[in-house]
Subunit: 493 residues, 4 copies
């Protein structure tokens, strides 16, 4: 674990030279640019905790490959305990940053690829697993940050990859050379991309036989030739660009994951970094394992965020003198209740985890899908309750420039004060925190990160084992199990 | 109706000289400043519709005071038809601006004050009603925009006005002169304040006998000496400040109502513009009537907004090729369903309206409260569904600078395209519209405007006529009506 | 209006001789049989109110055919006021019976058939409208109760009428004679059938050209030869069969509408009672108008029931000493809120009603569908809240036999008492009322009566005018209206 | 484990002679009486599974007291694995009986008393723990069924035990003899009471110092002198009394737990069966541990029931030919989703379990409360969805007498048929199963069993650690932790 602290991590980023654009301009140093620096600091927290006595047990693990102490974010889960510790680590990080710390995407990509590479080799006699272990040992020892790159643009969604008018709407191999593969396409919504060291490229969905060139998995550095990133806009991002400490709402850390487009314009990946190449039947399992791990995480990191939000509105009710209102207590109770319901599924899908053939542990996929599905509902409801409790001034509060103005500062201080003894500035800061955590970007990410709601519903239905459930009902009423409706076996005429 | 068009309205604003601050700077011309101009244009739409053949019947009325044709926004409702037409007008305006057009606050203040002034005079022999009619005739004939100013800062909410450490946390009379009253305090969240002509000042809650000085109603121009406004920040307001046409999301019109703080530093109001002064028992009815009218409106203007949002996501599903998904249709159905449920209550509380002693019509207060209560739930849910349908790129979309960039513009165009034949720019524009209408400020306003959710619940419980309902149940089971639990009449020992 | 009182109505039923079965036995006198008598009494209330000074204005109308005073349940709505009065009448009846009073089904059938018969004649030069007016005059003058018979069994729902293995799964003409039509089939869930005088037969869905024989509308007496009814079971119906006054929960009135199967085994309907015969294109409008009227009603009668339920739990909280609990008040508030939300849509769809070519008034169909859709959600939620507030003894309460037992009566009295001064029996009665109104049958009816939830969703989507909404969004962002995606108009190659 | 099979269990019940009343009559043999026999059979399943190869590992455990193989329902949880196995066992039993199998109440009572008796002894030097272990060894070796008796009548709920007009509204010691204690009072809603062997008596709430006589824990046989039980009514219980095989809905097994009142009229408990006597400070922990264990269980047994219900409606959709409807699949998906969300919390609170000083393992109390709170919402929603999918005939279906009638049987068979090849009887049976599982009693139990919803909310708020959460928010905004509002420390004047 070469990079040991947040500072070392940040230093390491300066040595890279990725091509990143934001608002039409190239970003030179992601650790300093006001748009990206807060995201860098969030990710740095994953490094910092590993050196923190209190959290070391959660934040590190022992590599099953080398026996070295490594960051848990580079670890292949070896048992249920690993899965549960990861969940607890994510909640702590959510509490400490109030946002996405980005590194679990790579972790989930590593775990999915590890187990699938093993199975491809088992079936086809390839050597992807050895290649991957070599790359992973490098990642673990260096303690690098990896962006798991999955989501393609998809173009016209009524058509699959092979039927798109523009074949580049899904990343694909455009040339196979002796020493590697050349790819083209793009990945959208790439969390942590601009401050990662490496990209782990994966297909976005199960591919059919016609889409062999789209069944590609590989790793490459973020500054490989032909890679361009465009950093997305976020709600109220200009406040951050201007370093408005209060109005930003969360001055040290980013809103969500600092997502970016990664465009690949004929990018070469050498063979020893290719972990799947055309084995379409394994694209489904790869995507599904990645998704399941990632969905499990959402009940952990987001509950950390909700802990912050719950604390923020509780504090605000103290400042405003409303702590005794029964409806205030009831709404805070509901926020906690929804938060812990989410956490339940994260813990449960981990506790019910089981090993894949490679030895890597998978979460229970049903419960992981259930977890994410609830996130897409409850995070909005928790935000709604927070907005209710905070009050209308969330939308009408004057700026910190007004607070500090000679002309009107006295009016802001006077008329936005609460109970005696707490400075108006504190009330304003907490209001801005709540504003930042409940509006726009923050919630969109909860909706669509790790797969849009409908993706989970499809899996929940598919894994619901309805045949077994029908049998349970029939047994209770003494209906024969084997009966068949004509609907199923239509008579021939 | 002197001001006949949007342009005339804007011209009239230039003649005023209110003291307005935004981000620490004084705003010189609200019709041009990028922060306020979009709000001015929204309000201007209320003027424009009055001259529009298609909408004139909704947008104008005949004054019962003068017989003149006036803007409906200055009209005292004379019957159920007036109430219903107002609802339809508000929905149309919501559809055309996609935001708050601000003018109903003054309208509701006018209607509440009109009926209450009449009743005060009936009881106390005062002449508030005549004073008010005179002022109102002026407003109607000039067609002025009035900001209804009700919400006080409230300081420590565990204490009433008279018990605040700082007596100015509620607006109050600090001096009674022969020719008028001097007031001090502030009003928060003042919708449309910066582009109104007049302020109609009202108390924020029912006042008790100890708070006579707080029972003050009066009218004053926005640029009266001692009046200072501070314009609030809104989500992503800097985009507007920079006139980013696409990224603003709604370039012509504002987010919500352009709320501002109005501070009154010893402001004088002459006697003929005072409509209540110390009659505390009438503060409750005034506030309640204002609130009921205002709550009724939310099922109208917000449904206009939801119409826009529903159209936006439907269009986006066409662009993205997902119109045939059954879950897409189902979510659009749900958006419409929730929207029309809200509209039901606005129509119903109007259809069930009835006259006050002054002749002015009131909405059904139960149904008006129910209306607003649902807004605080359904607007969030409609936004959540819109975010679901729109997709994750709502949170990660590059800026218009990137779209137009020589370096990366081709990548943005390529990878954010949808079905063939629709420019990427259109998809981006609609995404920004949805972003602007679902994030932050827009929803906070739906939660707290016209009273926070708990305010409605208190009224719903109070007006639920539980005694009658208990009787219904008892009759069905043959239980005597008159029975009394000892709980009610404890025995004396 | 020959039948003037509940007693006269009951007397009139004795003169009929319908073939009715219940639990395998024939019922001889529906006014006395314990299974049907409570339903007869509910329907009798519709007669009683017409003679009640307090409600006469709601319960009667002036026939536009004869000028006679008639029951509103036989009236063709002539204006918005008629529609609104009907809604208010239904709520009062729901409050007074705590259940379905059955007669609106016939009323809605009358209104739908009236307007559609007119339009068929306009198009085809038939004389259905005259026939119908003649029959309707008879119904009005005699003041008869009519069961609107629409829902067919449908057999295999993946197939339409013409494709069913058994053609009788939808009612159809099996023979056309000179003097009339012979029909076969059955209608399910027929509310009030066993205590009606007449059946108004209507098709269950829009029929295509292949299903001409299924496009049949006609009227016949309930005891026409070949008509057999089977009265359905209800939750806890045996308690009623044994006349257990307390445990029945609502001893005087029925659970829901006393639904029955009506089987037609080659039943003859004379020509002058046939109002549609093969005009398939009018089946859609007929069904839709009936459905819209009926859906509008659900926000009226069910709110009457919810008033009772709200009263019941409020009373119970008094008996149990829990009135001061903030969560108790909050849940009661929520019950009222949901109830009045439903009522809003009933009032609104009436206030927005408009005339058909025949002059008969239709409700606004969008708002009527929204109304019913909410009933399928809110009635369950109101019941859930009632169960929450009532307490667990709802499920474990001993019987009235135990209350009256020499052996254990003292224990029941002692341990089910509440606050001092209220007899245990009162608490038990109210618990049984709540049990009867929240369990099983009562809620199923709210779900499926007037069409299952999905039926409303299809209409809400269809009537949502998405083209207009898309246009609103485009205008706000300056996107051309006319643009066409290739998806819509694929280029030919 | 003396009783090894369901048959042996039933045989053992015949040797007891409890005083049980139902509908005013004494029940002589609970294993044969139609009201109680189905409940006996449900409980017997807990015995049967212990001998079933497939489930033995779940259904049995090794006693930490004796090393014997015992029923898991008499086991003190020794580790997380025990807690999780219990959860899985409960879900299986729910699936196999479709109802409550009653035995977890005693199990939870055993676990709560075990750990608390240990702690009382630690503090006061008493010997309750030894007494309890002796009694528990007897229960384990004999494999007896224990009813955990907690819920008191409570009378006037605005008053505590010591202030009730009738002191017997809470069970209390009325006499302390040398050899034991005489108690008086009653316990309501006693699940499985009539077919248990032993009663484990516990206080219903935390008692204060004034209520020492109410702080009593002890064990006694169900047929101890002075014990009388009254078996409660259930929805449609008469169908069962008449042994209507189809219409009962679940002919072999009961609705919920067969709850009964247990009245104690001066009942003597010998000293060696007393496990708490006046140590009021331990009543709180006892109640809370019992409640937490019990709340954890609801996400297990109820999910078993939901599995049955989901299977039932899925089967019905096959019979009705609606399996391909997208809304049908979506509603089934939602049923599964809600079910697995509940299960998540049961698993999670077990996985996060930890030892008490006695060594007995406790579940995580926050997550256990969250679990039960969701049951009070989701079970109703799952039932609502099932009713939606099943269709309206759930409320109007003729009886099995009609199905078998010579007169109308052919009509029932014809008109309630579905797709070809499935007998109408099967459709009717499944409809009755759904009716039995969604109406009335079944849902009331989910609401109030293991504590009414508000009880969980109080605990969720209390355990939410708001101080920590406030700190998280403050740290993110750089607000000092130690700051104190004057609200908290009012200045003295």
């Amino acid at each position: 674990m070469k990079l040991k602290t947040g500072a070392e991590y940040m230093e390491s980023l300066k040595k890279l030279n990725p091509k990143i654009y934001y608002k039409g301009q190239r970003i030179k140093d992601v650790t300093r640019h006001p748009a990206t620096a807060p995201h860098v600091r969030s990710a740095a927290m994953t490094y910092a905790l590993a050196s923190d006595e209190e959290y070391r047990d959660l934040a590190t693990a022992t590599s099953h490959l080398t026996g070295h102490t490594i960051s848990r974010f580079t670890h292949v889960h070896q048992n249920v305990e690993d899965l549960i510790k990861k969940i607890k680590l994510l909640r702590v990080l959510g509490q400490k940053t109030g946002t996405c710390f980005q590194r679990c995407v790579g972790l989930d990509g590593i775990n999915a690829t590890y187990s699938v590479a093993y199975e491809i080799d088992e079936k086809f006699g390839t050597d992807y697993f050895e290649r991957f272990k070599k790359w992973l040992t490098y990642i673990q020892d260096e303690n690098l940050m990896v962006v798991g790159a999955m989501t393609d643009p998809k173009g016209d969604r009524s058509k699959g990859p092979a039927d798109q008018p523009d074949p580049d709407q899904y990343v694909h191999a455009v040339e196979h050379r002796k020493d590697g593969v050349v790819i083209r396409g793009a990945k959208l919504h790439m969390t942590g991309a601009v401050n990662s060291h490496e990209i782990l490229l994966m297909p976005t969905a199960a591919m059919d036989e016609r889409s062999k060139d789209y069944a590609i998995v590989g790793a490459l550095p973020v500054d490989a030739p032909g890679v361009t990133m465009i950093f997305g806009r976020q709600a109220s991002d200009d406040r951050r660009d201007r370093k408005e400490r209060i109005d930003t709402g969360k001055p040290s850390f980013g809103a969500v994951g600092g997502e970016a487009v990664i465009a690949f314009e004929d990018v070469f990946i050498p063979s020893d970094r290719i972990f799947m190449d055309g084995e379409t039947e394994f694209t489904g399992p790869l995507v599904y394992r990645f998704a399941a791990h990632h969905r499990a995480n959402y009940g952990a990191c987001k509950t950390g965020l909700m802990d912050v939000l719950t604390g923020a509105v509780t504090y605000l009710s103290q400042v405003q003198g409303t702590t005794k209102g029964s409806h205030v207590r009831d709404k805070i109770t509901e926020m906690i209740h929804l938060c812990e319901t989410l956490y339940s599924s994260s813990i449960a899908c981990s506790a019910e985890g089981c090993p894949t053939p490679s030895g890597a542990y998978m979460v229970d996929t049903m419960l992981a899908n259930v977890c994410k599905q609830n996130v897409t509902r409850f995070h909005f409801e928790v935000a709604r309750l927070a907005v209710d409790l905070a009050g209308g001034f969330l939308a009408t509060l004057p700026s910190q420039y007004d607070l500090e103005s000679e002309d009107v500062g006295h009016l802001v201080k006077k008329y936005f004060s609460g109970v005696e003894g707490i400075p108006t500035e504190h009330r304003m800061k907490i209001a801005r925190l709540i504003e930042a955590m409940t509006g726009g970007t923050a919630l969109v990410e909860s909706m669509h990160g790790a797969g849009s709601p409908q993706a989970q519903r499809i899996m929940i239905f598919r894994e619901g084992d309805l045949e077994k459930k029908i049998k349970l009902a029939k047994v209770l009423m003494g209906i024969p199990i084997k009966e068949k409706a004509s609907q199923k076996k239509p008579k021939k005429s």
